[in-house]
């Protein structure tokens, strides 16, 4: 079953196809993480705002996302947005972004609240408004602390993007399943696609580690 020479052959032979899937996976991941980070930041600020309505909105959003399976969310976005003429790629991107956003909101909320409250007071005592103090003083410190769990969430987001194969998006995983069933060589293709994900995650981990080092320089 684990014929390494055979796996290598297929790996090389299928390389152009997988590159196409890889490109879609990367696009999907990067877009959904960027939007998800924005959503996460907004809902984190809602949660710490002390304004009841905003608290409620954030809590309901997070409860809905955390309380339902991602695959259900992806299908709801897919069927819902298809009616508006939005492509499978973008409905998957939005679905994943909303999903990541809920988890990222909790990450940001925790890291913002972990910044000593004396920092906000120091900013305010100098005459800086709340928003300015948040942006210049609190968020840069919070972001640094959020980086390890964010990196973790990004890795989860990358792997979760494989669920987009269920709405017929030809990303990495769907290439593996279609090629596998076409050739009746499922195991080889699954191992190969696993290797692709593994390498992506390792590269991404390195990137996060470098960023962490860079951000903590000088302090």
């Amino acid at each position: 079953m684990f014929d390494i020479a055979h796996i290598l052959d297929v790996l090389i032979e299928s390389y152009p196809l997988f590159m196409k899937g890889l490109w879609i996976t990367l696009k999907l991941t990067v877009i959904s993480i960027l939007i998800g980070t924005g959503i996460g930041l907004i809902f984190a600020l809602f949660k710490i705002s002390g304004i009841k309505v905003l608290n409620w909105i954030a809590n309901i959003y997070i409860a809905l996302i955390r309380g339902t399976p991602l695959i259900v969310q992806i299908f709801i976005f897919y069927f819902g947005l298809a009616e508006l003429g939005i492509s499978a790629f973008w409905s998957a991107a939005f679905g994943l972004a909303m999903h990541n956003g809920a988890y990222i909101a909790e990450i940001f909320r925790g890291s913002i609240q972990s910044v000593d409250k004396g920092q906000m007071e120091a900013g305010r005592s100098l005459g800086m408004p709340y928003g300015l103090t948040m942006r210049r003083i609190i968020l840069p410190q919070a972001f640094k602390r959020a980086l390890p769990p964010l990196g973790n969430q990004f890795i989860i987001g990358l792997k979760d993007s494989s669920l987009a194969s269920f709405i017929a998006l030809s990303e990495l995983f769907s290439i593996a399943t279609t090629q596998g069933s076409r050739t009746f060589d499922e195991m080889t293709y699954l191992i190969i696609v696993g290797l692709y994900y593994l390498v992506l995650v390792l590269l991404f981990t390195l990137l996060v580690n470098m960023l962490e080092k860079k951000l903590s320089a000088g302090e």
Partner: protein, 244 residues
């Protein structure tokens, strides 16, 4: 007659059911140094924090430089620019260098020109004796140095009043002196100061008035020589003998 800088009338503040300040009255004139003393929980820090509206009063009047400040209608950010504050735990911005700490508010709030702000900041750092630390991060400083940077940072906004909330309580004993010296210098230059402290030596030497607080009220006040040597109230005597 010196100009009145702070007038507080019947100030009340509660946290939930806990009455922290009960009808407090306080006057501070220009260039005066008023030292607040009292046991922890007596309300002295809360009083200080009410003056720059980090705590919002529940009743009474706060008049800063002749203007009654209503937190609902006044722009508190503008009021706070006139009232600098130094904290027990310094609260320096750890992600910014010493120089950036001092320049941040003048640039972001007053839109000062960057060069101008830097010149000003370097002057202030010189004044507190830390010119050579301009480019280091706060984590590399001793407690005493951090507190002196915090003083320079507050002064960079050119405040008319400076509030000090136990500025030496978090310091190792050997570092207290350098911070008190900086504060003394500031007092001699005519800065209006309200200081919460346990440093009775500083109070005796620098204060124009010492205010003893107990149980959310001003129990006794007077010039240092009177209050320290001839306290009238039993509570004041007890407190002074417990700390001296």
């Amino acid at each position: 007659m010196k100009r009145e800088m702070i007038r507080i009338e019947n100030l009340k503040k509660s946290f939930g059911d806990l009455e922290v300040l009960k009808e407090v009255n306080l006057h501070v004139n220009e260039s005066d140094v008023v030292v607040l003393i009292g046991a922890s929980g007596s309300g002295k820090s809360t009083l200080l924090r009410c003056i720059n509206f980090l705590e919002i009063k529940n009743g009474g009047k706060i008049v800063i430089e002749g203007e009654e400040i209503d937190p609902k209608t006044h722009n508190l950010n503008e009021v706070r620019q006139k009232v600098g504050m130094v904290f027990q735990h310094f609260n320096l911005f750890p992600h910014k260098t010493v120089l950036e700490n001092v320049m941040e508010a003048p640039i972001m709030v007053k839109n000062e020109d960057k060069k101008e702000a830097e010149k000003n900041a370097r002057n202030l750092l010189g004044k507190v004796g830390l010119s050579d630390k301009a480019d280091v991060y706060p984590a590399k400083l001793s407690g005493g140095q951090k507190q002196r940077v915090a003083i320079a940072r507050a002064l960079a906004m050119k405040p008319d009043i400076m509030l000090f909330d136990e500025p030496t309580s978090a310091l190792d004993p050997e570092l207290v002196g350098e911070v008190l010296a900086t504060m003394k210098e500031l007092a001699q230059e005519g800065m209006t100061m309200v200081v919460v402290t346990h440093e009775m030596g500083f109070a005796k030497e620098v204060a124009d008035e010492v205010v003893y607080m107990h149980d959310g009220q001003i129990w006794e006040r007077g010039i240092p020589s009177e209050l320290f040597n001839h306290p009238k109230e039993e509570r004041t005597k007890d407190f002074l003998s417990s700390i001296l």
